[in-house]
């Protein structure tokens, strides 16, 4: 690797160098990379158990901490979903699931899964672990702030969980927390429950902001030499764009949560209209419940993409590595991520078609919503074209990837139904909606998370997860998830309303009872299947097959650290220098079927892709 850049200041002569077939006369000039602009990062190295593993400033440890805590909340959310399905499939079978408890479970399941599980896992977990490694930085740029970010999240989760134990229990207003009923007596958890929920959300947003600033500045200002934005793995692009969305969308949630708390505690009427209750006029009056809906969904819709964009990015990398092919249309993929991110701020009111809005307003939002299908479909085509004629490794990771594509297309198509006002109105608040969003932002991102775990576990722990257990895990989850959500579409078409505790003797009963029982049994199975993964992880940590360096033969920097798993500071003495994008797989003429990002052009001058 040539390092003689000091006497070479003519950057233009260098950057005009293109990737023509440079077979003749390989010069060190060919390997030129701009000199370092930023001083090596000054890191605080922990030296006790507490500073190394608990209040740790290493992004990798923080990533694992986020991962574990998010998984814990995810398991709580899973158990809540079991209890809900128990009631829906076999009404009254478990006596303690009363109507009040059912609504509390619905609410907490939704909030936990969307915010405290998926968001925290993708951005806090994968973001922290992968961003510094993938862009070639030693750590996040503000390690201390990063640590505070995790502990804010910890306190937010603690406050959320505390709401299970306060008088009245957690809020049962649905995860959208629509006022006025959220804070009125009669709604479960309308006292301490909703306050703790608002407080927890505010803490989460504050903590996330600290983490998010880290992710953004690390990507923008701390890349290694040669790492241009267009050479970053799509994982980083996805997490980066999702973080931008989060930084701009969470403010609306923060403001909504704050105003709701004031309505509850101080008796203001931001969201509260004049209300008659049992013939009595309440103190409230003059507020606008619709205002909360707008604030909530201005956060809520970008939130969908905060979960989806990292998934898009990660899946692109997994498919490329395990199909041994470059990602099809890299630039298109990047612009699709950025475009989806930008569009996601102009579609929020499609969640409010039945709020009594002006039809033209709905028309506008239906149009913007359907436009999002364009970049999204481009991404799906590109994933399929990446697989096309690839040298596909049919391992667990690839199974999850394929499962994701199918599930995502499925959820996307039902999204086209719901994006149109006239189709949405009859389907609104039925199980069709439940099936749609669970497919598209529940199961699909979950498949990516699972694929990512099987893919990056060898990096984090140095051992392979068991393929055999992994395949059981995949097939049970995949077939089980379809057994749950396919029938739900049908339930929605026959008009079974969501959020109902029990159908009693309604006309739906005859055709829905058997189906509800079936769905519940499938849900128990899928939930149980997730414990295969936990068993697999515990078993692998002890007895798994050692992975060694770069076990998947990938190109991106996270696999190229001097030690596996990487140590604090990631790169030992010298930062890596990047010469290409991370997708040079199966290049004709190359010695191996992969060319790592740090391979200088002079080593592969016979391939026609010296620089990419």
């Amino acid at each position: 690797m040539s390092e003689d850049y000091n006497d070479n200041k003519t950057i233009h002569a260098q950057s005009s160098e293109t990737m023509g077939g440079g077979s003749a006369g390989v010069t060190p000039d060919m390997d030129y990379v701009r000199p370092a602009e930023i001083a090596d990062q000054d890191l605080y190295h922990g030296h006790s158990f507490i500073t190394k593993w608990i209040f740790c400033q290493d992004a990798k440890v923080i990533g694992v901490q986020y991962f574990l805590l998010a998984t814990f909340t995810g398991v709580v959310g899973l158990i809540l979903s079991w209890l809900m399905r128990l009631q829906l499939g076999f009404p009254g079978a478990a006596g303690f699931v009363t109507a009040e408890h059912y609504y509390q479970f619905v609410t907490m399941h939704g909030m936990i899964m969307v915010v405290y599980f998926l968001t925290a896992l993708f951005l806090g977990g994968f973001g922290n672990y992968l961003i510094p490694l993938m862009v070639g930085a030693r750590d996040m740029v503000f390690p201390y702030l990063n640590m505070v970010s995790f502990w804010s999240f910890f306190v937010a989760v603690a406050v959320l969980m505390a709401s299970f134990f306060v008088p009245g229990g957690p809020t049962g207003a649905g995860w959208t927390l629509y006022p006025p009923q959220t804070i009125l007596e009669g709604t479960p958890g309308s006292g301490a429950g909703i306050l703790l929920m608002c407080l927890s959300l505010i803490l989460f947003v504050a903590g996330f902001t600290m983490g998010g600033l880290n992710y953004l500045i690390t990507v923008l200002q701390a890349r290694t030499r040669g790492m241009t934005l267009m050479r970053m793995p799509l994982t980083v692009w996805g997490i980066f764009t999702a973080t931008v969305l989060a930084m701009l969308a969470f403010p609306a949630l923060l403001v909504g949560a704050l105003m709701m708390s004031l309505d509850k505690v101080l008796g203001t009427s931001f969201f509260m209209p004049t209300i008659l209750k049992a013939g009595e006029v309440l103190e409230y009056g003059g507020g606008s419940p619709i205002l909360f809906q707008h604030l909530f969904w201005f956060f809520g819709h970008p939130e969908v993409y905060i979960v989806a964009l990292p998934a898009f990015g990660i899946i692109s990398d997994l498919i490329s590595v395990h199909a041994r092919k470059n990602i099809f249309g890299y630039r298109m993929m990047v612009w699709a991520i950025v475009g989806i991110g930008a569009l996601s701020f102009f579609v929020w009111a499609h969640h409010m078609y039945v709020s009594g809005m002006n039809p033209w307003f709905g028309f506008f939002f239906a149009t913007t919503t359907l436009i999002i299908a364009v970049p999204t479909a481009m991404k799906v085509y590109n994933w399929i074209l990446t697989l096309w004629r690839g040298n596909i490794r049919m391992n667990t990771v690839m199974l999850w990837c394929l499962g994701f594509i199918v599930t995502f297309v499925n959820g996307g198509i039902t999204g086209i139904f719901l994006g149109n006002v006239s189709v949405d109105v009859p389907l609104s608040d039925t199980y069709f909606v439940v099936a749609h969003f669970h497919m598209v932002m529940g199961i699909a991102p979950l498949m990516v998370i699972m694929g990512a775990i099987y893919h990056w576990f060898p990096l984090v722990a140095g051992r392979f997860l068991s393929e055999k257990l992994g395949k059981w895990h995949f097939w049970l989850t995949f077939l089980g998830a379809y057994s749950i959500y396919f029938p739900m579409h049908y339930l929605g078409f026959i008009g079974v309303p969501r959020r109902y505790y029990e159908m009693y003797d309604s006309p739906y009963v005859t055709s829905a009872v058997g189906m509800n029982e079936f769905i519940s049994l499938a849900a128990f199975l899928v939930g149980a299947a997730q414990f295969i993964l936990i068993y697999n992880i515990i078993k692998t940590l002890k007895t798994g097959k050692p992975a060694g360096k770069n076990p998947w033969k990938a190109n991106s920097l996270e696999w190229l650290t001097p030690t596996v798993p990487p140590e604090h500071g990631n790169w030992g003495d010298r930062l890596p220098v990047v010469h290409r994008w991370p997708y040079d797989f199966s290049v004709p003429g190359a010695k191996d079927d992969y060319i790592t990002q740090t391979t200088p052009p002079s080593e592969v001058s016979n391939t026609g892709v010296e620089k990419t």
């Binding site: 850049y5 000091n6 200041k9 950057i11 990379v33 701009r34 000199p35 370092a36 602009e37 930023i38 000054d42 605080y44 740029v141 503000f142 390690p143 201390y144 702030l145 902001t209 998010g212 600033l213 953004l216 500045i217 923008l220 200002q221 701390a222 890349r223 290694t224 030499r225 040669g226 790492m227 241009t228 934005l229 267009m230 050479r231 930084m247 701009l248 969470f250 403010p251 609306a252 923060l254 403001v255 909504g256 704050l258 105003m259 004031l262 101080l266 008796g267 203001t268 009427s269 931001f270 103190e283 009056g285 003059g286 507020g287 606008s288 205002l291 604030l295 201005f298 990047v578």
Partner: protein, 236 residues
């Protein structure tokens, strides 16, 4: 602040330069301190928070069925027996904007490594901010005496008090946090932490005068937000 310079790299002005920086490796904003870039992005996020507040306020004011109180009467102050509208607010605004001026000078002297001048100006900014918070506390107590509460007030729509206390309170919290940091930074400047590159108490990062500029960005932002709150609450 001087133009950023990076050894071995020629920085070009204008759109072309921006495009080149974006397409380059390592950094997007050439020569910009990490902390400074972070503060700008944080302020963008904070802008969204205040925008949500102010849009909510416009919506609340627009949709309440009861008439909105007249700000020039509610915010009037008796000076020598004559009610002068917006007197206190004018002084508050003047003090806060002036403190932005002293902050800007502090940044200049900081980069010139003029420890004393920088320290005094940061301290002056802190005192300006403290005066502002004090006057706001006075205004709040005056309104509370007159019967304005977050849930009701004698002048008209209940939402007036709700939005007023919430938004000025949220802004006042920003100012107070700024004041605390200004006092800490004034101490650090006088104690020479930035000259000696002493490590931070919590972050253990080396001190640098750029921190004064970063705090300055925050302070100017808080002032700018006040201008919007002033316009929306007192002039509308």
């Amino acid at each position: 602040m001087s133009e950023p310079k990076i050894e071995g790299i020629e920085l070009k002005p204008g759109f072309k330069g921006m495009a080149e920086d974006t397409g380059s490796d390592q950094t997007m904003f050439k020569g910009v301190h990490w902390g400074k870039a972070m503060m700008w992005i944080f302020l963008l996020s904070d802008t969204f928070i205040f925008s949500c507040f102010l849009i909510a306020y416009m919506k609340g004011r627009g949709s309440t069925p009861v008439e909105w109180p007249n700000p020039s009467e509610v915010f009037a102050l008796d000076a020598f027996g004559v009610p002068v509208p917006l007197l206190l607010i004018a002084i508050m605004t003047f003090v806060l904007i002036t403190s932005s001026g002293t902050m800007a000078l502090a940044v200049k002297y900081g980069y010139e490594k003029n420890r004393k001048m920088c320290g005094w100006l940061v301290l002056a900014t802190a005192i300006g901010g403290l005066t502002f918070v004090g006057m706001q506390a006075f205004e709040w107590s005056k309104l509370i005496h007159e019967g304005v509460r977050p849930w009701e007030n004698p002048f008209g729509a209940a939402q007036f008090g709700s939005f007023f206390f919430m938004i000025t309170g949220f802004h006042g919290t920003h100012v107070s946090i700024g004041v605390i940091f200004l006092f800490i930074y004034a101490y650090k400047v006088f104690a020479g932490h930035y000259d000696q590159q002493k490590r931070g108490w919590f972050t253990s990062m080396k001190g640098d005068y750029v921190e004064i500029e970063i705090l300055g960005l925050y302070w100017h932002f808080v002032d700018l937000v006040w201008v919007f709150i002033f316009a929306f609450f007192y002039l509308w």
